[in-house]
Symmetry: C2
Subunit: 133 residues, 2 copies
């Protein structure tokens, strides 16, 4: 049941990078007030059409500095030891991070956002409108 023909590796390519003043991993609280630029590769600029219809967007990024993943980790949420999938730690099998950020402004291929929980140079994988669930 757990194995099938889709069990191949998946190749992703950054669509852009984070440009902000955070150069080392820090607490989420500090990052929440930081303004960041998301600089998309110019060929993706058209894909931002109508994004300002939304006040908030989900930014998907890659934890490029993380190496390895303890299956049980101390999680920040409550300080408890817990499985990697019960934690939002950057140390995970596929290093996908996602943050809901406030969209401040868009200039061509550059998004100005507030609250991005990612350091300078972080590769961006995707951007989606945030629709409250």
């Amino acid at each position: 049941m757990s194995e099938n023909n889709n069990d191949t590796s998946i190749l992703m390519h950054p669509i852009g990078f984070v440009d902000n003043s955070i150069f080392e991993p820090a607490s989420a609280r500090e990052k929440k007030n930081t303004e960041s630029l998301i600089v998309l590769k110019s060929e993706y600029a058209e894909g931002l059409d109508s994004i300002t219809d939304f006040d908030k967007i989900q930014v998907f990024f890659y934890f490029h500095l993380s190496e390895g993943f303890p299956m049980i980790q101390k999680r920040r949420y409550d300080g408890k030891m817990a499985g990697v999938f019960a934690s939002r730690s950057p140390k995970r099998p596929n290093g996908i991070g996602v943050t809901v950020v406030e969209l401040l402004k868009v200039d061509n291929n550059i998004l100005h956002v507030k609250g991005l929980d990612a350091i300078n140079g972080t590769p961006i994988l995707d951007i989606k409108p945030y629709i409250s669930e």
Copy 2:
């Protein structure tokens, strides 16, 4: 500003697969009431420790049937033509999907969830606790 040393491809590996009764892409509304199994590879079972601390989890998956991505698409949200990043369409540069689901039960490496917006056989990339933002 847009290019740097992190601009390499990123390799991901499914951590498991969706097992449910949805065999063709359908409307999100239908899927919202469907119960699904998420069958993780057995080596990841330990990573589910303490996940039942949460009623809802974020499931990250790969749109394995999507091919190509129109930069401008008609989006389901309001029927308007919009950029791919202003849409949650499965047709996107890196085919990452994410859904917040209700966690019903966990048996070893198998999660029982409700509301997963993904078809049978979809590769799972990550699972995180959902913490309201």
